[in-house]
Amino acid sequence: MQELIINILLGVVILTAAGLLIFIGSRKGGMTKKQRTMMIRILISASALLGLQFVSAEMFDTLDVYLFPSAGRWIRFACYLIDYFIIGYDILKKAAKGIKNRQVFDENFLMAVATIGAMALAVYENGEYLEAIAVMLFYQIGEWFQGYAVGKSRRNISNLMDIRPDYANVERDGKLEQVDPDEVGIGSVIVVQPGEKVPIDGIIVEGNSSLNTSALTGESLPREAKVGDEVISGCISMTGVLKIQTTKEFGESTVSKILDLVENASSRKSKSEDFISKFAKVYTPAVCYSALALAILPPLVRMLFMGLAADWGVWIYRALTFLVISCPCALVISIPLSFFAGIGGASQQGVLVKGSNYLEILSKTKVVVFDKTGTLTQGVFEVNGIHHNELENAQLIEYAALAESASSHPISKSLQRAYGKEPDRTRVSDIREISGNGVIAKVDGIEIAAGNDKLMKHLNIPYIDCHQTGTIIHMAIKGAYAGHIVISDIVKPHSQAAIASLKSSGVEKTVMLTGDAKKVANQVANSLGIDEVYSELLPAGKVEKVEELLRMKLGKAKLAFVGDGINDAPVLSRADIGIAMGAMGSDAAIEAADIVLMDDDPMKISKAIRISRKCLRIVYQNIVLALVVKFACLILGAFGIANMYLAIFADVGVMILAVLNAIRCLFVKKL
């Protein structure tokens, strides 16, 4: 029965190998030279083995008559031995080298000992050579598949992440020339044609186009760009020809920075990876010594204490089975591959993770702390309401804008924006700024006071408080109250959904920190459904609050801080994990944060957490799967239930499953 199964399997192997050689091997870049040779060896060896299967030991024995006694036995051995060498010579060579270099416990050594042992047992019994060769054959097939699958997925993931521009167009003597982007100096003008990638950061000096930033941000909506706009490298110009004056060297451009970051991300190893490589170092020698013990101790015990036959052959066979199971490769390969795929998938969605370790921490995040301005709100202050005014709205805004025209305060900028025209400064005179209160100035000769309640009190003008939250600018014209203007930050459209989505993906507590007034902060927090608010904090106060929150959290829960990276670098680095958002083009933010969200959509935070959870789930699945199967096989092997076939299929099978499972990390678009 078992023999029949093996014969069928050999047939399948032969057909598959031939098919792979014809269809993939002939394609350019389908297989490396090494892989091709190996596949040919597998094909030859499997065919020879299947052929030898149909010639029984008795048929060889008939040769005895023509030659010398027991010639058939030795000729049969020679035939199998040749086949064994065809499939396994490189393993034997490596094993020998390993012993010479005192690096004994590697998988080559294990396979060599296991199969040579099985061959020796077969010679001794003139029995089944099939097993030793088949085990070596299936091991080689497993290795081949692993090398091929890992190599292919490695290339695929790298390609996905590869946003590296190959060339830059430079105009020379009226003609376009393609040059290496490395050679373009700061301040030179490059030309980007429709469909091409912007190779270097710069400012548009001619032309307009819509830019596809999806490679950087995962955002599919194109962005319009016109003369004077800054463009960052990695965007694809879709409609028009752009002339761009570069502001950075290629090496300093966004695209190079991102590539560098993502490529090096998997070098920062996670705890699970460390665990596995430590485990592998202990596991292989441990299994080898147990195999030795299994080969020697039970027969001795049987002989000396139980008065039974030693059964050396049986126990040595069981020990050899142990060796086959002891290769840790399935385990070692699948973990970094999972992380690599996870980081690759995330970067496609505009979430840059700086290391496998951060992906791991992110998955354990239970507390998310937000900065308010620029993170949950747009950080752009706008006029949101005008109340209690007797003048026309536009007239009041005009007065306010003119009175504040000398100031560069964000509030005055929002007034200018609301006014919509360039303020005519000649209409303004006698500007007096009262620090912390507001401005008094003459516009067209009329005295205008614009400022907060303190200013009104100072001027002894009765004012009406506002029920809305935000910054209130009270206006007085010729000493009489003329109403107030409310300026407030606008909450981002997705903020509320983002908080809800965080909750549903397992975050227990959301906290908002802000330097803003309590009333404003509470109102924003309530509207978004945030659990805790700490307001009126100075930058140093934010660090203290985060430290306090770090002390409060329980056990292994991690705390993430989300900011826009502009003035919260200390907090970003103090939290367990710092997330900077809207960081496209901001070096400081990319530097300080552990995870960088390329656009400023807060929904990406929960997406990042979900990606990390999925990735870690797959990592744990793989660890558990590999360990359970290996230990089950070890136990079954020790009791003689599992034979070498089962051991090698378990080994190869687990590895294939683990690799396929790891690839799932790449599919994160719909999370």
Partner: protein, 72 residues
């Protein structure tokens, strides 16, 4: 000083062994092998010549994994 080298190695466990071997080489402050991107990042101790050190690293790596390659 930190330098990155392209490497060629077939199996992940062998990459780990190479990392170990590189770390133990004299003159290497720290070493990381990234199997996925096939790169070795080596940080050299102060006052050492990367070229000489890398020769030793290559030798040490060849010892643990005869099939590996480091582009120096």
């Amino acid at each position: 000083m930190k330098k990155t080298y392209k490497i060629e190695v077939d199996c992940a466990n062998c990459a780990n062994l190479m990392e170990d071997a590189a770390r133990k080489t004299a003159g290497v402050a720290s070493a990381t092998v990234n199997f996925m991107t096939q790169k070795m990042i080596v940080e050299f101790a102060d006052g050492t010549d990367p070229k000489n050190v890398m020769q030793d690293v290559l030798k040490a790596c060849k010892k643990v994994e005869p099939d590996c390659e480091i582009e120096l």
